[in-house]
Protein backbone atom coordinates (compact mmCIF):
# COMPACT_ATOMS: atom_id res chain seq x y z
CA UNK A 1 0.00 0.00 0.00
CA UNK A 2 2.92 2.32 0.61
CA UNK A 3 3.98 1.75 -2.94
CA UNK A 4 0.41 2.36 -3.97
CA UNK A 5 0.47 5.77 -2.38
CA UNK A 6 3.81 6.64 -3.91
CA UNK A 7 2.55 5.38 -7.22
CA UNK A 8 -0.55 7.51 -6.94
CA UNK A 9 1.38 10.60 -5.99
CA UNK A 10 3.80 10.08 -8.85
CA UNK A 11 0.88 9.68 -11.18
CA UNK A 12 -0.74 12.87 -9.95
CA UNK A 13 2.44 14.84 -10.19
CA UNK A 14 2.78 13.78 -13.78
CA UNK A 15 -0.84 14.58 -14.33
CA UNK A 16 -0.79 18.30 -13.75
CA UNK A 17 1.40 18.69 -16.83
CA UNK A 18 -0.40 16.30 -19.16
CA UNK A 19 -3.96 17.47 -19.01
CA UNK A 20 -5.14 18.14 -22.52
CA UNK A 21 -3.77 15.55 -24.88
CA UNK A 22 -6.42 13.33 -26.47
CA UNK A 23 -6.79 14.42 -30.09
CA UNK A 24 -10.39 14.52 -31.28
CA UNK A 25 -9.78 14.11 -34.98
CA UNK A 26 -8.21 10.73 -35.73
CA UNK A 27 -10.44 7.75 -36.26
CA UNK A 28 -7.61 5.50 -35.12
CA UNK A 29 -7.24 6.32 -31.43
CA UNK A 30 -4.82 4.66 -29.08
CA UNK A 31 -6.47 4.07 -25.75
CA UNK A 32 -4.86 3.00 -22.48
CA UNK A 33 -6.98 0.55 -20.53
CA UNK A 34 -6.30 -0.14 -16.88
CA UNK A 35 -6.35 -3.81 -16.02
CA UNK A 36 -6.37 -5.81 -12.82
CA UNK A 37 -5.43 -9.44 -13.02
CA UNK A 38 -9.03 -10.56 -12.39
CA UNK A 39 -11.52 -12.51 -14.50
CA UNK A 40 -13.98 -9.63 -14.20
CA UNK A 41 -11.69 -7.54 -16.42
CA UNK A 42 -12.09 -10.08 -19.23
CA UNK A 43 -14.43 -8.08 -21.51
CA UNK A 44 -11.68 -5.60 -22.44
CA UNK A 45 -9.27 -8.47 -23.02
CA UNK A 46 -11.75 -10.28 -25.26
CA UNK A 47 -12.66 -7.10 -27.13
CA UNK A 48 -9.01 -6.45 -27.87
CA UNK A 49 -8.22 -10.03 -28.85
CA UNK A 50 -11.27 -10.41 -31.07
CA UNK A 51 -10.73 -7.05 -32.75
CA UNK A 52 -13.91 -5.41 -31.38
CA UNK A 53 -11.96 -2.32 -30.39
CA UNK A 54 -10.30 -2.23 -33.77
CA UNK A 55 -13.72 -2.24 -35.42
CA UNK A 56 -14.42 0.91 -33.45
CA UNK A 57 -11.17 2.50 -34.58
CA UNK A 58 -9.49 1.98 -31.24
CA UNK A 59 -6.03 0.55 -30.63
CA UNK A 60 -6.15 -0.79 -27.11
CA UNK A 61 -3.10 -0.89 -24.83
CA UNK A 62 -3.33 -2.52 -21.44
CA UNK A 63 -1.73 -1.07 -18.32
CA UNK A 64 -1.57 -3.49 -15.39
CA UNK A 65 -2.29 -2.45 -11.84
CA UNK A 66 -2.07 -4.28 -8.53
CA UNK A 67 -5.04 -2.53 -6.94
CA UNK A 68 -8.06 -0.50 -7.98
CA UNK A 69 -7.03 2.68 -6.20
CA UNK A 70 -3.87 3.51 -8.20
CA UNK A 71 -5.78 2.72 -11.37
CA UNK A 72 -8.41 5.29 -10.42
CA UNK A 73 -5.70 7.86 -9.76
CA UNK A 74 -4.00 7.07 -13.08
CA UNK A 75 -7.30 7.66 -14.88
CA UNK A 76 -7.80 10.91 -12.99
CA UNK A 77 -4.36 12.02 -14.12
CA UNK A 78 -4.98 11.05 -17.74
CA UNK A 79 -2.26 8.42 -17.87
CA UNK A 80 -4.90 5.77 -18.40
CA UNK A 81 -8.14 6.34 -20.29
CA UNK A 82 -10.60 3.66 -19.19
CA UNK A 83 -10.87 1.24 -16.33
CA UNK A 84 -13.20 -1.04 -14.46
CA UNK A 85 -13.35 -0.95 -10.68
CA UNK A 86 -15.62 -1.15 -7.66
CA UNK A 87 -17.16 2.05 -6.38
CA UNK A 88 -14.86 3.07 -3.56
CA UNK A 89 -14.41 6.12 -1.37
CA UNK A 90 -11.37 7.01 -3.42
CA UNK A 91 -13.34 6.90 -6.67
CA UNK A 92 -16.11 9.12 -5.32
CA UNK A 93 -13.55 11.53 -3.92
CA UNK A 94 -11.88 11.80 -7.32
CA UNK A 95 -15.25 12.27 -8.99
CA UNK A 96 -16.12 15.05 -6.55
CA UNK A 97 -12.92 16.81 -7.57
CA UNK A 98 -14.10 16.60 -11.16
CA UNK A 99 -11.45 14.17 -12.26
CA UNK A 100 -13.29 10.94 -13.10
CA UNK A 101 -16.77 9.80 -14.16
CA UNK A 102 -18.54 6.48 -14.09
CA UNK A 103 -19.93 5.86 -17.57
CA UNK A 104 -21.25 2.32 -17.38
CA UNK A 105 -21.83 -0.76 -15.30
CA UNK A 106 -19.84 -3.97 -15.25
CA UNK A 107 -19.98 -6.78 -12.69
CA UNK A 108 -23.38 -7.13 -11.05
CA UNK A 109 -25.00 -9.56 -8.65
CA UNK A 110 -27.98 -11.21 -10.33
CA UNK A 111 -30.37 -13.69 -8.73
CA UNK A 112 -29.81 -16.49 -11.21
CA UNK A 113 -26.02 -16.44 -11.08
CA UNK A 114 -23.87 -17.44 -8.17
CA UNK A 115 -22.63 -14.23 -6.55
CA UNK A 116 -20.30 -13.14 -3.79
CA UNK A 117 -20.01 -15.40 -0.76
CA UNK A 118 -19.82 -14.77 2.93
CA UNK A 119 -17.00 -16.82 4.44
CA UNK A 120 -15.94 -17.58 7.99
CA UNK A 121 -12.86 -19.26 9.36
CA UNK A 122 -13.15 -22.88 10.51
CA UNK A 123 -12.48 -21.72 14.04
CA UNK A 124 -15.34 -19.20 14.01
CA UNK A 125 -17.61 -21.77 12.42
CA UNK A 126 -16.96 -24.26 15.17
CA UNK A 127 -17.46 -21.42 17.59
CA UNK A 128 -21.04 -21.08 16.39
CA UNK A 129 -20.90 -18.61 13.52
CA UNK A 130 -23.00 -20.62 11.10
CA UNK A 131 -25.20 -17.90 9.61
CA UNK A 132 -24.53 -14.24 8.85
CA UNK A 133 -26.79 -13.34 11.78
CA UNK A 134 -24.10 -14.74 14.10
CA UNK A 135 -21.54 -12.24 12.87
CA UNK A 136 -22.35 -9.68 15.56
CA UNK A 137 -19.28 -9.13 17.70
CA UNK A 138 -17.03 -10.86 15.17
CA UNK A 139 -13.97 -9.67 13.27
CA UNK A 140 -14.71 -8.98 9.61
CA UNK A 141 -11.79 -8.49 7.21
CA UNK A 142 -11.72 -5.61 4.74
CA UNK A 143 -8.96 -4.28 2.51
CA UNK A 144 -9.38 -0.57 3.12
CA UNK A 145 -11.93 1.83 4.53
CA UNK A 146 -14.50 2.56 1.85
CA UNK A 147 -13.84 -0.64 -0.09
CA UNK A 148 -16.60 -2.90 -1.39
CA UNK A 149 -15.86 -5.27 1.52
CA UNK A 150 -16.55 -2.50 3.99
CA UNK A 151 -19.90 -1.82 2.26
CA UNK A 152 -20.91 -5.48 2.23
CA UNK A 153 -20.05 -5.94 5.89
CA UNK A 154 -22.32 -3.07 6.86
CA UNK A 155 -25.12 -4.23 4.58
CA UNK A 156 -25.06 -7.56 6.40
CA UNK A 157 -25.21 -5.82 9.77
CA UNK A 158 -28.07 -3.57 8.64
CA UNK A 159 -30.12 -6.45 7.27
CA UNK A 160 -29.50 -8.75 10.23
CA UNK A 161 -30.53 -5.99 12.56
CA UNK A 162 -27.44 -5.50 14.64
CA UNK A 163 -25.45 -2.33 14.95
CA UNK A 164 -22.69 -1.72 12.40
CA UNK A 165 -20.28 -1.07 15.23
CA UNK A 166 -20.86 -4.61 16.48
CA UNK A 167 -18.88 -5.85 13.50
CA UNK A 168 -15.26 -5.36 14.31
CA UNK A 169 -13.71 -4.39 10.98
CA UNK A 170 -10.08 -5.28 10.46
CA UNK A 171 -8.26 -3.27 7.79
CA UNK A 172 -5.65 -5.43 6.09
CA UNK A 173 -4.92 -3.43 2.93
CA UNK A 174 -4.56 -6.31 0.52
CA UNK A 175 -6.49 -9.38 -0.55
CA UNK A 176 -3.57 -11.76 0.19
CA UNK A 177 -3.38 -10.36 3.73
CA UNK A 178 -7.11 -10.89 4.23
CA UNK A 179 -6.81 -14.45 2.95
CA UNK A 180 -3.85 -15.17 5.23
CA UNK A 181 -5.75 -13.75 8.21
CA UNK A 182 -8.92 -15.70 7.45
CA UNK A 183 -7.14 -19.00 6.95
CA UNK A 184 -5.15 -18.63 10.15
CA UNK A 185 -8.26 -17.61 12.09
CA UNK A 186 -6.96 -14.12 12.85
CA UNK A 187 -10.21 -12.75 11.49
CA UNK A 188 -13.58 -14.47 11.60
CA UNK A 189 -15.28 -13.46 8.39
CA UNK A 190 -14.94 -12.03 4.91
CA UNK A 191 -16.96 -11.72 1.70
CA UNK A 192 -15.54 -12.30 -1.78
CA UNK A 193 -16.35 -13.15 -5.38
CA UNK A 194 -17.18 -16.81 -5.99
CA UNK A 195 -14.05 -17.83 -7.85
CA UNK A 196 -11.81 -16.82 -4.95
CA UNK A 197 -14.33 -18.10 -2.40
CA UNK A 198 -14.42 -21.47 -4.17
CA UNK A 199 -10.67 -21.86 -3.87
CA UNK A 200 -10.82 -21.09 -0.16
CA UNK A 201 -13.74 -23.29 0.82
CA UNK A 202 -12.17 -26.26 -0.93
CA UNK A 203 -9.54 -26.19 1.83
CA UNK A 204 -10.06 -27.08 5.47
CA UNK A 205 -9.81 -23.63 7.02
CA UNK A 206 -12.70 -21.70 5.51
CA UNK A 207 -16.47 -22.28 5.50
CA UNK A 208 -19.21 -20.57 3.48
CA UNK A 209 -22.16 -19.35 5.53
CA UNK A 210 -24.17 -17.22 3.10
CA UNK A 211 -24.30 -15.13 -0.03
CA UNK A 212 -24.19 -11.37 -0.47
CA UNK A 213 -27.17 -11.44 -2.82
CA UNK A 214 -29.36 -11.97 0.27
CA UNK A 215 -28.20 -8.62 1.66
CA UNK A 216 -27.57 -6.36 -1.29
CA UNK A 217 -30.17 -6.41 -4.02
CA UNK A 218 -28.71 -6.44 -7.52
CA UNK A 219 -25.43 -5.14 -6.22
CA UNK A 220 -23.59 -3.18 -8.91
CA UNK A 221 -20.14 -4.39 -7.89
CA UNK A 222 -17.95 -2.78 -10.53
CA UNK A 223 -18.39 0.07 -12.98
CA UNK A 224 -16.70 1.35 -16.11
CA UNK A 225 -15.14 4.75 -15.63
CA UNK A 226 -13.02 7.28 -17.42
CA UNK A 227 -11.64 10.75 -16.94
CA UNK A 228 -13.93 13.78 -16.89
CA UNK A 229 -11.73 15.20 -19.61
CA UNK A 230 -12.76 12.43 -22.04
CA UNK A 231 -16.43 12.69 -21.05
CA UNK A 232 -16.47 16.40 -21.74
CA UNK A 233 -14.09 16.78 -24.64
CA UNK A 234 -14.18 13.44 -26.39
CA UNK A 235 -17.49 11.71 -25.54
CA UNK A 236 -17.47 10.03 -28.92
CA UNK A 237 -14.32 8.11 -27.92
CA UNK A 238 -16.06 6.89 -24.77
CA UNK A 239 -19.00 5.72 -26.85
CA UNK A 240 -16.77 3.78 -29.19
CA UNK A 241 -14.94 2.25 -26.24
CA UNK A 242 -18.22 1.17 -24.66
CA UNK A 243 -19.39 -0.32 -27.95
CA UNK A 244 -16.26 -2.47 -28.21
CA UNK A 245 -16.39 -3.28 -24.53
CA UNK A 246 -20.03 -4.36 -24.79
CA UNK A 247 -19.21 -6.86 -27.53
CA UNK A 248 -16.56 -8.28 -25.23
CA UNK A 249 -19.15 -8.47 -22.46
CA UNK A 250 -21.55 -10.37 -24.68
CA UNK A 251 -18.89 -12.94 -25.52
CA UNK A 252 -17.84 -13.22 -21.88
CA UNK A 253 -21.38 -13.83 -20.65
CA UNK A 254 -22.10 -16.27 -23.43
CA UNK A 255 -18.93 -18.22 -22.80
CA UNK A 256 -18.63 -18.25 -19.04
CA UNK A 257 -21.90 -17.12 -17.43
CA UNK A 258 -24.74 -18.40 -19.63
CA UNK A 259 -22.53 -21.07 -21.19
CA UNK A 260 -24.38 -20.80 -24.49
CA UNK A 261 -21.22 -20.77 -26.52
CA UNK A 262 -19.71 -23.88 -28.03
CA UNK A 263 -16.97 -25.55 -26.02
CA UNK A 264 -14.47 -24.79 -28.77
CA UNK A 265 -15.21 -21.07 -28.73
CA UNK A 266 -15.30 -21.01 -24.95
CA UNK A 267 -11.84 -22.57 -24.78
CA UNK A 268 -10.68 -19.86 -27.15
CA UNK A 269 -12.10 -17.15 -24.87
CA UNK A 270 -10.46 -18.78 -21.84
CA UNK A 271 -7.14 -18.81 -23.64
CA UNK A 272 -7.49 -15.09 -24.37
CA UNK A 273 -8.22 -14.31 -20.75
CA UNK A 274 -5.30 -16.46 -19.69
CA UNK A 275 -2.98 -14.03 -21.47
CA UNK A 276 -3.58 -11.64 -18.56
CA UNK A 277 -5.15 -13.61 -15.72
CA UNK A 278 -3.52 -16.50 -13.80
CA UNK A 279 -0.50 -16.12 -16.03
CA UNK A 280 1.64 -17.82 -13.40
CA UNK A 281 -0.15 -21.11 -14.05
CA UNK A 282 -0.23 -23.24 -17.19
CA UNK A 283 -3.44 -22.99 -19.20
CA UNK A 284 -4.67 -26.43 -18.08
CA UNK A 285 -4.61 -25.28 -14.45
CA UNK A 286 -5.90 -21.80 -15.15
CA UNK A 287 -8.81 -22.99 -17.27
CA UNK A 288 -11.05 -24.27 -14.44
CA UNK A 289 -10.18 -21.29 -12.26
CA UNK A 290 -11.20 -18.86 -14.98
CA UNK A 291 -14.45 -20.71 -15.68
CA UNK A 292 -15.41 -21.21 -12.06
CA UNK A 293 -17.70 -18.68 -10.50
CA UNK A 294 -17.81 -16.21 -13.35
CA UNK A 295 -20.30 -13.49 -12.43
CA UNK A 296 -22.51 -11.68 -14.88
CA UNK A 297 -21.25 -8.50 -16.45
CA UNK A 298 -24.05 -6.22 -17.57
CA UNK A 299 -24.99 -6.44 -21.25
CA UNK A 300 -24.24 -3.17 -23.02
CA UNK A 301 -22.59 -1.97 -19.83
CA UNK A 302 -26.00 -1.17 -18.34
CA UNK A 303 -25.73 0.51 -14.98
CA UNK A 304 -27.87 -0.20 -11.92
CA UNK A 305 -28.26 3.37 -10.73
CA UNK A 306 -30.35 2.26 -7.75
CA UNK A 307 -27.45 0.23 -6.43
CA UNK A 308 -25.04 3.12 -7.02
CA UNK A 309 -27.36 5.44 -5.08
CA UNK A 310 -27.54 2.95 -2.22
CA UNK A 311 -23.76 2.74 -2.10
CA UNK A 312 -23.46 6.52 -2.18
CA UNK A 313 -25.86 6.77 0.76
CA UNK A 314 -23.80 4.29 2.70
CA UNK A 315 -20.54 6.13 2.01
CA UNK A 316 -22.10 9.34 3.28
CA UNK A 317 -23.55 7.68 6.35
CA UNK A 318 -20.07 6.49 7.26
CA UNK A 319 -18.43 9.87 6.57
CA UNK A 320 -16.14 8.23 4.05
CA UNK A 321 -16.87 10.82 1.37
CA UNK A 322 -17.63 14.53 1.60
CA UNK A 323 -21.22 15.19 2.66
CA UNK A 324 -21.85 17.18 -0.52
CA UNK A 325 -20.97 14.26 -2.81
CA UNK A 326 -23.71 13.38 -5.31
CA UNK A 327 -24.46 10.60 -7.74
CA UNK A 328 -24.69 13.27 -10.46
CA UNK A 329 -21.06 14.16 -9.92
CA UNK A 330 -20.10 10.50 -9.94
CA UNK A 331 -22.06 9.16 -12.89
CA UNK A 332 -22.60 10.40 -16.40
CA UNK A 333 -25.79 8.60 -17.46
CA UNK A 334 -25.69 9.71 -21.07
CA UNK A 335 -23.65 6.76 -22.32
CA UNK A 336 -25.54 3.65 -21.27
CA UNK A 337 -28.96 2.54 -20.24
CA UNK A 338 -29.52 2.87 -16.50
CA UNK A 339 -32.09 1.23 -14.29
Amino acid sequence: MTSTIIHSLAAITLASGVALTAPANAQEDTVQIGLLSLTSHAPSIIAEAKGYFEEEGITAEFVSFQAAQPMAVAIASGDVDFGVTAITGGLISLAERGAVKVIGGALQETPEIEGQKILVSRQAHEDGVTTPADLAGRRFGITTAGSSFHYMAHKIADAEGFDRSELSLVTLNSVPAVIASLRSGQIDAWSIVPNIAGGLTRGEDVVEIGVIADYVEDYQVTTVFTSTDIVENNPELAERFLAGFSKGVADYNAALVDKTMSEEETAEIVAMIHEYVYTDRPLEDADPAIRAGAMRINENARLNLGSVEDQMEWFKSEDLVPAEATVENLVDTSFVETF
Binding site: M1, A99, G146, S147, L169, A177, S181
Partner: protein, 283 residues
Amino acid sequence: MSLDTTHAPVTSAAVPRPVAPSGARPVPFRGGGFRHKPLGFVGPLVFVALIALWELGSRTGFISPIALPAPSEAFAAFMDLVQTGMLWTHLEASLYRLVVGWTFGSLLGVSVGLAIGLFSFVRAGFLPLVSALFPIPKIALLPLFIVWFGIGEGSKVATILFGTFFPTVIATYGGVDNVDRNLIRMGQSFGLSWLSIVRKIIIPGALPAILSGFRISASIAIVLLVAAEMIGAEFGIGAYILMAGALFATDQLICGVAMLSILGLTISFFIGKAEKYFLNWRT
Protein backbone atom coordinates in the same frame (compact mmCIF):
# COMPACT_ATOMS: atom_id res chain seq x y z
CA MET B 1 57.56 42.00 1.51
CA SER B 2 59.93 40.91 4.27
CA LEU B 3 62.88 42.43 2.46
CA ASP B 4 61.15 45.75 2.32
CA THR B 5 60.43 45.94 6.00
CA THR B 6 63.93 44.95 7.09
CA HIS B 7 65.53 47.49 4.84
CA ALA B 8 63.22 50.36 5.59
CA PRO B 9 64.66 51.51 8.93
CA VAL B 10 68.26 51.33 7.68
CA THR B 11 67.81 53.41 4.58
CA SER B 12 65.47 55.80 6.41
CA ALA B 13 62.76 57.98 4.90
CA ALA B 14 64.88 59.21 2.02
CA VAL B 15 63.93 56.24 -0.10
CA PRO B 16 60.69 57.02 -1.89
CA ARG B 17 57.80 54.65 -1.47
CA PRO B 18 57.78 52.22 -4.38
CA VAL B 19 55.72 53.59 -7.21
CA ALA B 20 53.64 51.02 -8.98
CA PRO B 21 54.45 50.91 -12.69
CA SER B 22 51.48 51.72 -14.88
CA GLY B 23 49.44 48.65 -15.65
CA ALA B 24 50.18 47.08 -12.26
CA ARG B 25 47.12 45.46 -10.79
CA PRO B 26 46.18 43.70 -7.58
CA VAL B 27 46.83 39.98 -7.38
CA PRO B 28 43.52 38.37 -8.26
CA PHE B 29 41.84 36.88 -5.19
CA ARG B 30 41.30 33.20 -5.58
CA GLY B 31 40.67 32.04 -2.01
CA GLY B 32 37.44 31.96 -0.12
CA GLY B 33 34.41 29.75 -0.56
CA PHE B 34 34.19 26.04 0.28
CA ARG B 35 33.65 26.87 3.88
CA HIS B 36 30.37 26.50 5.70
CA LYS B 37 29.14 29.36 7.79
CA PRO B 38 26.47 28.62 10.36
CA LEU B 39 23.29 30.16 8.96
CA GLY B 40 20.69 28.79 11.34
CA PHE B 41 17.86 30.98 10.13
CA VAL B 42 18.07 29.87 6.48
CA GLY B 43 16.60 26.40 7.06
CA PRO B 44 13.32 27.55 8.62
CA LEU B 45 13.16 30.43 6.13
CA VAL B 46 13.35 28.10 3.13
CA PHE B 47 10.75 25.90 4.76
CA VAL B 48 8.34 28.78 5.37
CA ALA B 49 8.95 30.20 1.91
CA LEU B 50 8.20 26.86 0.26
CA ILE B 51 4.97 26.44 2.21
CA ALA B 52 3.93 30.00 1.36
CA LEU B 53 4.67 29.41 -2.31
CA TRP B 54 2.75 26.16 -2.22
CA GLU B 55 -0.25 27.83 -0.57
CA LEU B 56 -0.14 30.62 -3.14
CA GLY B 57 0.03 28.08 -5.95
CA SER B 58 -3.01 26.25 -4.59
CA ARG B 59 -5.01 29.42 -4.04
CA THR B 60 -4.40 30.71 -7.53
CA GLY B 61 -5.20 27.32 -9.01
CA PHE B 62 -1.72 26.89 -10.46
CA ILE B 63 -1.43 23.69 -8.43
CA SER B 64 -4.43 21.47 -9.16
CA PRO B 65 -6.23 20.28 -6.02
CA ILE B 66 -5.92 16.75 -7.37
CA ALA B 67 -2.17 17.04 -7.60
CA LEU B 68 -1.64 18.52 -4.16
CA PRO B 69 -3.93 19.94 -1.49
CA ALA B 70 -3.17 23.41 -0.14
CA PRO B 71 -1.11 23.44 3.09
CA SER B 72 -4.02 25.19 4.76
CA GLU B 73 -6.27 22.23 3.90
CA ALA B 74 -3.75 19.82 5.36
CA PHE B 75 -3.59 22.01 8.43
CA ALA B 76 -7.39 22.00 8.65
CA ALA B 77 -7.27 18.19 8.56
CA PHE B 78 -4.79 18.39 11.41
CA MET B 79 -7.06 20.68 13.42
CA ASP B 80 -9.90 18.19 12.87
CA LEU B 81 -7.70 15.57 14.44
CA VAL B 82 -6.94 17.84 17.38
CA GLN B 83 -10.56 18.80 17.94
CA THR B 84 -11.90 15.27 17.77
CA GLY B 85 -9.10 14.08 20.02
CA MET B 86 -8.17 11.51 17.41
CA LEU B 87 -4.67 12.97 17.23
CA TRP B 88 -3.79 11.49 20.60
CA THR B 89 -5.41 8.17 19.78
CA HIS B 90 -3.39 7.90 16.58
CA LEU B 91 -0.19 9.17 18.16
CA GLU B 92 -0.51 6.90 21.17
CA ALA B 93 -1.04 3.82 19.01
CA SER B 94 1.89 4.65 16.75
CA LEU B 95 4.26 5.70 19.52
CA TYR B 96 3.56 2.47 21.40
CA ARG B 97 4.47 0.43 18.31
CA LEU B 98 7.52 2.55 17.57
CA VAL B 99 8.82 2.54 21.12
CA VAL B 100 8.30 -1.16 21.77
CA GLY B 101 9.49 -2.27 18.33
CA TRP B 102 12.47 0.03 18.26
CA THR B 103 13.53 -0.65 21.86
CA PHE B 104 13.49 -4.41 21.50
CA GLY B 105 14.94 -4.26 18.00
CA SER B 106 17.78 -2.10 19.26
CA LEU B 107 18.42 -4.13 22.39
CA LEU B 108 18.55 -7.35 20.41
CA GLY B 109 20.56 -5.66 17.68
CA VAL B 110 23.16 -4.31 20.09
CA SER B 111 23.42 -7.71 21.82
CA VAL B 112 23.84 -9.64 18.61
CA GLY B 113 26.16 -6.96 17.22
CA LEU B 114 28.36 -7.19 20.33
CA ALA B 115 28.39 -10.97 20.11
CA ILE B 116 29.43 -10.78 16.45
CA GLY B 117 32.08 -8.24 17.31
CA LEU B 118 33.47 -10.22 20.25
CA PHE B 119 33.24 -13.90 19.35
CA SER B 120 34.75 -15.31 16.18
CA PHE B 121 32.38 -18.25 16.32
CA VAL B 122 29.30 -16.06 16.39
CA ARG B 123 30.72 -13.87 13.65
CA ALA B 124 31.40 -16.86 11.42
CA GLY B 125 27.93 -18.24 12.07
CA PHE B 126 25.72 -15.18 12.17
CA LEU B 127 27.30 -12.55 9.97
CA PRO B 128 26.37 -14.28 6.69
CA LEU B 129 22.87 -14.76 8.09
CA VAL B 130 22.55 -11.09 8.94
CA SER B 131 23.82 -10.10 5.50
CA ALA B 132 21.31 -12.47 3.92
CA LEU B 133 18.31 -11.31 5.94
CA PHE B 134 19.01 -7.58 6.07
CA PRO B 135 18.00 -6.76 2.48
CA ILE B 136 14.70 -8.66 2.65
CA PRO B 137 11.92 -6.09 2.56
CA LYS B 138 9.96 -6.74 5.72
CA ILE B 139 6.79 -5.62 3.91
CA ALA B 140 7.09 -8.64 1.64
CA LEU B 141 6.80 -10.87 4.69
CA LEU B 142 3.61 -9.24 5.99
CA PRO B 143 1.28 -12.13 5.08
CA LEU B 144 3.61 -14.48 6.96
CA PHE B 145 3.87 -12.07 9.88
CA ILE B 146 0.09 -12.29 10.19
CA VAL B 147 0.31 -16.02 10.65
CA TRP B 148 3.33 -15.84 12.96
CA PHE B 149 2.44 -12.87 15.12
CA GLY B 150 -1.28 -12.36 14.59
CA ILE B 151 -3.06 -9.23 13.46
CA GLY B 152 -2.87 -7.61 16.87
CA GLU B 153 0.07 -5.57 18.08
CA GLY B 154 2.35 -8.55 17.49
CA SER B 155 2.82 -8.23 13.75
CA LYS B 156 3.10 -4.43 13.91
CA VAL B 157 5.75 -4.46 16.60
CA ALA B 158 7.51 -7.32 14.83
CA THR B 159 7.70 -5.41 11.55
CA ILE B 160 9.39 -2.47 13.27
CA LEU B 161 11.51 -4.76 15.42
CA PHE B 162 12.90 -6.63 12.41
CA GLY B 163 13.40 -3.41 10.53
CA THR B 164 15.50 -1.86 13.29
CA PHE B 165 17.30 -5.02 14.34
CA PHE B 166 19.56 -5.46 11.31
CA PRO B 167 20.95 -1.95 10.92
CA THR B 168 21.67 -1.93 14.65
CA VAL B 169 23.57 -5.22 14.42
CA ILE B 170 25.69 -3.90 11.58
CA ALA B 171 26.35 -0.55 13.27
CA THR B 172 27.28 -2.25 16.55
CA TYR B 173 29.71 -4.83 15.27
CA GLY B 174 31.26 -2.21 13.00
CA GLY B 175 31.70 -0.04 16.08
CA VAL B 176 33.30 -2.89 18.02
CA ASP B 177 35.66 -3.60 15.13
CA ASN B 178 36.73 0.02 15.08
CA VAL B 179 37.59 0.29 18.77
CA ASP B 180 41.26 1.24 19.02
CA ARG B 181 43.12 -2.07 19.41
CA ASN B 182 45.73 -0.30 21.47
CA LEU B 183 43.18 0.56 24.14
CA ILE B 184 42.26 -3.11 24.40
CA ARG B 185 45.95 -4.00 24.63
CA MET B 186 46.31 -1.38 27.35
CA GLY B 187 43.46 -3.00 29.27
CA GLN B 188 45.10 -6.39 28.94
CA SER B 189 48.49 -5.00 30.01
CA PHE B 190 46.93 -3.80 33.25
CA GLY B 191 45.39 -7.18 33.83
CA LEU B 192 41.78 -6.06 33.38
CA SER B 193 39.28 -8.91 33.25
CA TRP B 194 37.55 -9.76 29.97
CA LEU B 195 34.30 -8.37 31.25
CA SER B 196 35.95 -5.14 32.36
CA ILE B 197 37.53 -4.69 28.97
CA VAL B 198 34.17 -5.21 27.24
CA ARG B 199 32.29 -3.00 29.67
CA LYS B 200 34.78 -0.18 30.10
CA ILE B 201 36.66 -0.12 26.81
CA ILE B 202 34.80 -1.85 24.00
CA ILE B 203 31.25 -0.70 24.66
CA PRO B 204 32.11 2.98 25.26
CA GLY B 205 34.44 2.84 22.27
CA ALA B 206 31.69 1.44 20.05
CA LEU B 207 29.10 3.88 21.38
CA PRO B 208 29.53 6.56 18.68
CA ALA B 209 28.84 3.96 15.99
CA ILE B 210 25.93 2.50 17.97
CA LEU B 211 24.34 5.92 18.39
CA SER B 212 24.64 6.76 14.73
CA GLY B 213 23.12 3.36 14.09
CA PHE B 214 20.22 4.41 16.33
CA ARG B 215 19.75 7.49 14.20
CA ILE B 216 19.31 5.33 11.13
CA SER B 217 17.20 2.66 12.81
CA ALA B 218 14.84 5.26 14.24
CA SER B 219 14.23 6.63 10.75
CA ILE B 220 13.70 3.13 9.44
CA ALA B 221 11.20 2.51 12.24
CA ILE B 222 9.18 5.52 11.12
CA VAL B 223 9.35 4.44 7.49
CA LEU B 224 8.10 0.99 8.50
CA LEU B 225 5.28 2.39 10.62
CA VAL B 226 3.03 2.74 7.56
CA ALA B 227 3.81 -0.83 6.53
CA ALA B 228 3.29 -2.11 10.06
CA GLU B 229 -0.10 -0.46 10.29
CA MET B 230 -1.30 -2.07 7.07
CA ILE B 231 -2.30 -5.07 9.13
CA GLY B 232 -5.48 -4.64 11.08
CA ALA B 233 -4.69 -1.26 12.57
CA GLU B 234 -7.69 0.79 13.54
CA PHE B 235 -5.60 3.66 14.87
CA GLY B 236 -2.12 4.97 14.25
CA ILE B 237 -0.58 7.60 11.99
CA GLY B 238 0.27 4.94 9.41
CA ALA B 239 -3.31 3.64 9.43
CA TYR B 240 -4.54 7.23 9.10
CA ILE B 241 -2.30 7.77 6.06
CA LEU B 242 -3.40 4.48 4.48
CA MET B 243 -7.05 5.33 4.95
CA ALA B 244 -6.50 8.80 3.51
CA GLY B 245 -4.86 7.16 0.50
CA ALA B 246 -7.71 4.71 0.03
CA LEU B 247 -10.31 7.47 0.18
CA PHE B 248 -8.12 9.81 -1.83
CA ALA B 249 -8.37 12.35 0.97
CA THR B 250 -5.16 14.12 0.01
CA ASP B 251 -5.43 16.74 2.74
CA GLN B 252 -5.36 14.01 5.38
CA LEU B 253 -2.63 12.23 3.46
CA ILE B 254 -0.34 15.27 3.54
CA CYS B 255 -1.29 15.92 7.17
CA GLY B 256 -0.31 12.36 8.13
CA VAL B 257 2.93 12.49 6.18
CA ALA B 258 3.80 15.82 7.84
CA MET B 259 3.15 14.23 11.24
CA LEU B 260 5.60 11.43 10.42
CA SER B 261 8.13 14.00 9.33
CA ILE B 262 7.74 15.94 12.57
CA LEU B 263 8.02 12.70 14.51
CA GLY B 264 11.27 12.00 12.68
CA LEU B 265 12.61 15.47 13.48
CA THR B 266 11.71 15.05 17.13
CA ILE B 267 13.42 11.68 17.41
CA SER B 268 16.47 13.01 15.61
CA PHE B 269 16.57 15.92 18.07
CA PHE B 270 16.55 13.57 21.05
CA ILE B 271 19.23 11.35 19.56
CA GLY B 272 21.30 14.48 18.99
CA LYS B 273 20.87 15.31 22.68
CA ALA B 274 21.87 11.78 23.64
CA GLU B 275 24.97 12.04 21.45
CA LYS B 276 25.91 15.32 23.11
CA TYR B 277 25.46 13.76 26.53
CA PHE B 278 27.18 10.44 25.98
CA LEU B 279 29.85 11.54 23.55
CA ASN B 280 30.96 14.80 25.14
CA TRP B 281 34.45 13.32 25.30
CA ARG B 282 34.79 13.53 21.55
CA THR B 283 36.63 16.48 20.07
